[in-house]
């Protein structure tokens, strides 16, 4: 919900184990109903405005498509703040029976789709079953589940966090994603090297002229004279 759901790393899908779904989701719905929406300059609202009317329309289109696909939508309506030229909304939580329609698309709006899973492999398959791959996270205390999520069989994203949300990266690590949300890395780790022009120099301090890979390209003096 930070930045009204318009961050590139905003959590879009929450995949919840079936054993805790009925406890967790009602709590989340009540948070979504009560979280403060308002003018960011005049109070301590956690959710500010959408960037413009087009963003509001896109959000409503996604919610309508989610309903059509069998989703149960909580929230998502416009909130009357600062007049008709600004667009504040109540963040939406959408319970989805399956991963279809707007769930696999980026809307850049405060919409959280909630899906249910039975085992971790199924959850990871859902997780990776979209065309985006920027940021991800797992909440778990089971070391095997955490490490599996971080392994080659786990998250396919450029960022994979543990016991925190997917947004709010530090600059010390490389930032960037895969698939449609790919495009290299920036900031720390080794990503900064892309900002430099890396130059490789071969220096010959002998008298011969050997070529790499053993290639022979000798020109004898006779053939040089035409």
């Amino acid at each position: 919900m930070g930045t009204a759901g318009q961050r590139c790393t905003t959590l879009r899908r929450l995949i919840v184990h079936e054993s805790v779904y009925d406890v967790l989701v009602p709590k989340l719905v009540s948070v979504y109903e009560s979280i403060s929406v308002g003018d960011p300059l005049t109070g301590d609202a956690l959710v500010g405005p959408l960037i413009d009317g087009a963003a509001f329309e896109a959000m409503q289109r996604s919610l309508a498509a989610a309903r059509e696909a069998g989703g149960t939508v909580h929230g998502g309506a416009r909130v009357d703040i600062n007049g008709k030229d600004s667009f504040y909304v109540r963040p939406a939580l959408v319970e989805m029976p399956s991963q279809v329609g707007p769930v696999v698309e980026e809307t850049f709006a405060p919409i959280l789709y909630v899906l249910k899973y039975r085992n971790l492999d199924q959850a990871i398959a859902l997780h990776n079953g979209v065309s985006q791959g920027l940021s991800s996270s797992v909440f778990a205390t089971d070391m095997r589940e955490v490490e599996r999520f971080l392994s080659a069989q786990g998250s396919d994203c450029g960022i994979a966090n543990v016991n925190m949300g997917p947004s709010g990266a530090e600059i010390g690590g490389a930032f960037g994603g895969e698939k449609e949300t790919g495009g290299g890395r920036e900031s720390g780790s080794d990503a900064w090297k892309a900002y430099m022009r890396r130059q490789t120099s071969a220096v010959n301090y002998g008298r011969g002229m050997p070529l790499a890979q053993g290639v022979k390209f000798d020109v004898d003096e006779g053939s040089a004279q035409v």
């Binding site: 930070g2 930045t3 009204a4 759901g5 318009q6 961050r7 590139c8 905003t10 003018d39 960011p40 300059l41 005049t42 301590d44 609202a45 956690l46 959710v47 500010g48 405005p49 959408l50 960037i51 413009d52 963003a55 009357d80 703040i81 600062n82 007049g83 008709k84 030229d85 600004s86 667009f87 850049f108 709010g168 530090e170 600059i171 010390g172 920036e186 900031s187 720390g188 900064w192 090297k193 900002y195 430099m196 022009r197 890396r198 130059q199 490789t200 120099s201 071969a202 220096v203 010959n204 301090y205 002998g206 008298r207 011969g208 050997p210 070529l211 790499a212």
Partner: protein
């Protein structure tokens, strides 16, 4: 319909912030590209648009500057980035507020955008004195290989108003080129 006109003077706040940063109204008024604040939809700037020939001229100037800049040793280039970071520290509150007004982030998140720029500057300053290269054994006799990073020529950088990101005037500062 209850209309709460919470901050009637957002354009005035923007003017004051930019004035405090040394940016005159001619830089963001009188142009053709109107910028509105998502907070209440009011126009806060009408920025002059850059023409293709303006861009070509700017690229030429950048290229001329690069020919000088590439001769400056990396730690000295890092010193400039250190001073950029100091400027951001001094003006963090003002610039953070500008981010809030321009893209509607909460004040805390607006400040976070500026802190990220400061962190990047610090990181780059540190790197400017740690730009190691490699020496690699050659497969050929009497040869050695060296790999080393040097300054890149200028790169064109777009200023897009991206949803949810920091102010366009600010975002490019996130990757100061210490290299």
């Amino acid at each position: 319909m209850t209309e709460i006109l919470s901050t009637p003077a957002i354009p005035a706040i923007v003017r004051d912030i930019l004035a405090s940063l040394g940016i005159g109204t001619d830089r963001f008024q009188g142009g053709t590209l109107v910028v509105t604040s998502p907070i209440d939809g009011t126009p806060i700037a009408a920025v002059p648009e850059t023409t293709a020939s303006d861009v070509a001229a700017a690229i030429s100037r950048a290229q001329a500057a690069f020919l000088q800049w590439r001769t400056v040793p990396a730690p000295r280039r890092g010193e400039l980035v250190r001073r950029l970071g100091e400027e951001l520290r001094v003006n963090k509150a003002a610039v953070g507020r500008l981010v809030t007004i321009e893209v509607g982030k909460s004040v805390s998140e607006g400040l976070g955008e500026v802190q990220e720029m400061i962190d990047i500057c610090d990181f780059a300053v540190g790197l400017s004195r740690q730009l190691y290269g490699l020496t690699i054994q050659s497969e050929r006799a009497d040869h050695r290989l060296i790999a080393f990073g040097g300054p890149r020529p200028h790169v064109a950088s777009g200023c897009l108003r991206r949803h949810g990101h920091g102010g366009p005037a600010l975002h490019d500062a996130k990757a100061p080129d210490c290299a």
